[in-house]
Structures are given as structure tokens and as C-alpha cells.
């Protein structure tokens, strides 16, 4: 292959890679949309896994105990959101001190809000302290 053709081929390849990874959208997201908003878009704020709400709570509250999350997604081990509240300072044996509920309306039968102290509420997402 001639040198000029190779240059052309390299440029085409670069364009193909840029197209394959949707580079311009990625660049736009990275420069225009903040990290928290990208997390919200991916995992949901007060919906889906609810990681956006978890991050919001972590930023705005000084959580000094073990935190758990319950969302309304059909459980398949991959969407429980547990990874987002994991804290290496607390083991599985430690009792839960705080609870985040995503989409309470769908989980009404499982949780009675009267048993908890409501620390924050947004739509039907709750940040609760577990009463001793």
C-alpha cells in the first residue's frame, strides 16, 4: 500500500473508532454533565438502583453507622445497589444503623415508616435512621 493511502486508511480508522465509541457524545457528557448527573443518568436518582440519591445522602449527611439500601427493582444480585453503600469499616455482622429506601410506594408492604426516624425525604425516596 502506498504511503498516502496508508495515511488515508489511518484517518478512516480513527474516524471509525471515534464513531464506534460515540466519542463526541462522551466528550460532551464529560465536559458538560457533572459526575453526579452522569451517575444519576446511569443508575437513577430516585428511581432504578437509586445510586444518585445514595451519593446525595453521603455528601450531605455525616453517616457514622452502617448504611443499607433497598430499591424496588426485581432482585437479581446486580441491581440491589448494595455496592454503593458498602463501607469497609463495617462487617456483615454489624447491625444496620441507616436505611435508604428507593421508591417506597412499591415497597410499602415491606417497610413501615413509623418504625424509623425520617432524616431526609425526596419524592418517594427516604433516608431513615433505624430506631434502637
Amino acid at each position: 500500500m502506498k504511503k498516502n493511502n496508508l495515511y488515508l486508511f489511518i484517518i478512516i480508522l480513527l474516524f471509525l473508532i471515534v464513531h464506534k465509541i460515540d466519542f463526541l457524545r462522551s466528550l460532551h457528557d464529560l465536559t458538560v454533565i457533572g459526575y453526579d448527573d452522569r451517575i444519576n443518568n446511569t443508575y437513577g436518582f430516585c428511581d432504578k438502583e437509586g445510586i444518585g440519591y445514595v451519593n446525595f445522602i453521603k455528601k450531605n449527611f455525616d453517616i457514622d453507622g452502617k448504611l443499607k439500601i433497598k430499591n424496588s427493582l426485581k432482585s437479581n444480585n446486580n441491581n440491589s445497589g448494595e455496592w454503593s453503600v458498602y463501607n469497609s469499616n463495617f462487617s456483615e455482622q454489624n447491625k444496620t444503623d441507616y436505611l435508604i429506601i428507593i421508591n417506597y410506594e412499591k415497597l410499602k408492604k415491606k417497610f413501615n415508616l413509623n418504625n424509623y426516624k425520617i432524616l431526609h425525604n425526596f419524592k418517594d425516596c427516604y433516608f431513615l435512621a433505624i430506631n434502637d
Partner: protein
């Protein structure tokens, strides 16, 4: 914008690992017939093994990181004080690596979602390292027994280094290793332009975000890509054999610390080394002892840090002994069907198989690929297929679920060894 700056900064931090401990422009410490890319590979693998060693210590990343960074910068300045002009030339030669790393890093930073295993295992482990814990704390995580810790340690190490406090910056190191491995193996032609074209083709064919969603397979894949190249050069006879042998040994050692199946590749590589006639019996014995010592070291380290091996649960001896013929046949039929399905979906395996058939059927014997290397590839394929079959037959899990959730990744990992021969064969056909 700050994330883009962080990506640029991280590229230069990762590149630092290629420059130290040996001066890549000097022929004082390294054999003169070794090219610069192979010297960077040696530096990289030494640094990766050093980080592995640091991960065994009861010291948090935060406590050792400043010492590591400062000493690296110091060594860089001392070692390269007379070669700063050459560094600029080198940077020019690796500009394709930089461009691709930048493009893909932007993609990873915008996608950010984590894969299944990543959420369940690897992210949590990296969080331990990020939160100033050590290998000796990992036992507190109930799922820590399923996979080794090293991939998560690397994730945690570079996550901690990031001034933008986001976990995905730790994962960018996986991307760097992947890009570097493709860049290193694409150096097969005298013309740089052709090499760069090959590098871009490889990236275009292979890159998918999912591989970088925190899964560890991409690390084993990248190391196998490099090991395969050094096996070829080792068999070619025209390079410093010991140097290449060191590279193969050091990269192989990393495999056992990344994923459980890394042990299989580790021992397959040992077998491939042991069947080489050009290695003396004495050296083969030494290699066996060395590989077994590496493996025993892993058992000892995990025993000291109270980390159990979870694979014992998946592979129960009683279940294996009670397997009847009907069940084995049922499992085997599923394995074969899905194996061919995933084989056809894997770009490098498909290309490799096509080229091998082409080579056997249409190429004259004198023009064929190096016979010893060809045998290595066949023996590697045999052991990988044997591993896949036995892994699924002996696993106590519903077969279709087990296959559909893991086989594509298993084949992807294994295909790393075929990247170099595939491009070598293609290059031979196109530019003969």
C-alpha cells in the same frame, strides 16, 4: 474539564512505569539487541510485580503511595538526566498510544457503569484499598474468597492517586495496560506507519466498554497478548533468550493474582516452557521450581491473610465423583454448541482459526509460520479447550446459566494469546 486534565495527567503517570527502573535508551544494563518497546515491557512488568509485592504488606496505599511516587520521580530524573531529548522523541513515537488512550478514556469516563462481577466483587475490594485497608482486612468482605485481590489493588491504587475522587480513574490503568499490550504487539513491521495501522485496527476490532466496566478479564487478556509475543521472539532465536524468558516469567506470575482461572493460564504457560527443547533440563527444573514457588507463595499469602479459596465450593469433589454419563453428555452437548457460538463471536479466535486453515491448505510448507510457535499455539488451544470443558462439567451449577454468564469472557481472555500470531500471519500475507 478537570476530568480531562486528570486523564492527561494519568497517562503520564502510567507512562512513568515504562521508564523505570531501567533506562530504556541506555544499553548499559540491558542487552543491546533488545528494542525499546521490549525494554519498556520489562520496566512495566517489574513495576507491576513491585506493586504486587506492596499489596502483600500491612501498609495502606495512602501510606506507601507518596514514597513510591517520590522515589520514582527521583529515579526518573537521575536516570534520564542526560536523555531528556530522547524522551521527547520517544513520546513522539508513542503518540498513537496516547491518542487512543485519550479517546477510550473519555468513553470510559462518560459511561461509568460497573459490570456484574465488578459491583459484586472487584469494586468492593478496591474500596477496601481506597479506604486505607490492606490485604489483611479483605477477609471481612464475605465474597472476597471468590477471586484474588491484585486487580482490585491496582484499581484502588490509582483511584487513590486521582485528585478527582471518582472510582473510574482507577480503572483507567486497565485501559492503559490494554492499549499498551496492543501497541507493543503491533510493532511487527519495519515501517512505523504500518505498525500504527495495525494498532488502530486491533483497537477498532476489539474495544468494547464492557471489558473495562471493572471486570478483571481484560488484565489477563492484555498479559496474554504480551506473553504470546515474547514466546514468539523467544522461539525465533535472534534475541536475548534470558531477557525474554524473564519477561514471560514475570508476566505469568501476575496471572495468578488477578482471577482464579489465571492459575490455569499460569500452568499452561509453564507446560509450554517445559516442552521447549532449546531450554536445558537444568533450566526447566529451575522454571518448574520457580512457578511452583510462585503458586505456593500465593497459597501462603492468602493463608496468612485469612483469605479462603471460594472455588472449592463451586467444585465439590463429591459432586464430581457422582457425575453420571447422562449428565456429562448433556453438559458436553451444551458446552460444544455454546462454545462454537461464542467462538464465532470472538474476533481474534475467528481470525486465527481462519488463518490457520488458510496456512495449512494454501501456503507452501517453506512459507509457513515458525513450526515451534505453531505447535505452541496448538498445545495452548488444546489445554484451553480442555480447561473450558472440565470447568463446566465439574461445576455444580445449571449448565446453560453457567455458560451464558461466563463463556464469552473465558474465550475473550483466552484469545489474548492469539492476537500476536493473527497479526503476524496477516502481516506476512499482506506485506510479503
Amino acid at each position: 474539564m478537570i476530568e480531562i486534565l486528570q486523564i492527561l495527567l494519568f497517562f503520564f503517570i502510567f507512562i512513568l512505569l515504562l521508564f523505570i527502573p531501567f533506562n530504556i535508551f541506555s544499553s548499559l544494563n540491558l542487552p543491546s539487541n533488545i528494542d525499546i518497546v521490549e525494554k519498556t515491557s520489562l520496566n512495566l512488568v517489574i513495576n507491576l510485580n513491585l506493586l504486587l509485592f506492596l499489596s502483600f504488606l500491612p501498609l495502606s496505599i495512602q501510606s506507601i503511595q507518596p514514597i513510591v511516587i517520590l522515589s520514582y520521580l527521583l529515579v526518573l530524573i537521575i536516570s534520564y538526566r542526560k536523555n531528556f531529548d530522547l524522551i521527547f522523541v520517544f513520546f513522539k513515537s508513542i503518540s498513537p498510544l496516547f491518542i487512543i488512550f485519550f479517546l477510550l478514556a473519555i468513553n470510559i469516563s462518560s459511561e461509568i457503569f460497573l459490570g456484574w462481577d465488578a459491583k459484586f466483587f472487584y469494586y468492593i475490594k478496591s474500596l477496601f484499598f481506597y479506604e486505607e485497608k490492606t490485604i489483611f482486612d479483605l477477609y471481612k468482605f464475605e465474597h472476597s474468597m471468590w477471586h484474588p485481590h491484585y486487580g482490585s489493588y491496582l484499581w484502588g491504587f490509582f483511584w487513590t492517586l486521582s485528585f478527582v475522587d471518582n472510582e473510574h480513574f482507577g480503572r483507567l490503568f486497565y485501559l492503559f495496560l490494554f492499549c499498551y499490550s496492543f501497541f507493543a504487539v503491533s510493532k511487527i513491521n519495519k515501517k512505523q506507519l504500518i505498525n500504527n495501522t495495525i494498532f488502530l485496527i486491533l483497537i477498532f476490532l476489539f474495544y468494547e466498554y464492557n471489558f473495562f466496566s471493572g471486570l478483571q478479564e481484560i488484565l489477563i487478556f492484555s498479559f496474554l497478548v504480551l506473553i504470546s509475543k515474547y514466546f514468539f521472539l523467544f522461539l525465533k532465536n535472534n534475541k536475548d533468550e534470558m531477557f525474554l524468558l524473564y519477561l514471560i516469567i514475570l508476566f505469568s506470575n501476575l496471572l495468578i493474582w488477578i482471577k482464579s482461572e489465571g492459575i490455569v493460564y499460569f500452568f499452561i504457560l509453564l507446560i509450554l516452557l517445559l516442552i521447549q527443547n532449546k531450554i536445558s533440563i537444568k533450566r526447566r527444573l529451575f522454571l518448574s521450581a520457580l512457578f511452583i514457588s510462585f503458586y505456593l507463595l500465593k497459597l501462603v499469602i492468602y493463608d496468612i491473610s485469612n483469605l479462603e479459596n471460594g472455588q472449592k465450593i463451586l467444585y465439590d469433589i463429591e459432586y464430581i465423583l457422582n457425575l453420571d454419563f447422562n449428565l456429562i453428555f448433556y453438559k458436553l452437548s451444551n458446552i460444544v454448541v455454546w462454545f462454537f457460538y461464542y467462538l464465532s463471536n470472538n474476533i481474534f479466535l475467528s481470525i486465527f482459526i481462519f488463518l490457520i486453515f488458510y496456512e495449512k491448505l494454501f501456503v507452501k510448507e517453506k512459507n509457513r509460520i515458525n513450526t515451534s510457535y505453531f505447535n505452541i499455539l496448538i498445545i495452548y488451544s488444546f489445554f484451553v479447550i480442555l480447561f473450558i470443558i472440565s470447568a463446566y462439567i465439574f461445576r455444580e451449577m445449571e449448565i446453560e446459566y453457567a455458560i451464558r454468564t461466563t463463556m464469552d469472557r473465558l474465550l475473550m481472555t483466552a484469545s489474548g494469546f492469539f492476537v500476536y500470531p493473527s497479526i503476524k500471519l496477516l502481516n506476512k500475507k499482506l506485506y510479503r
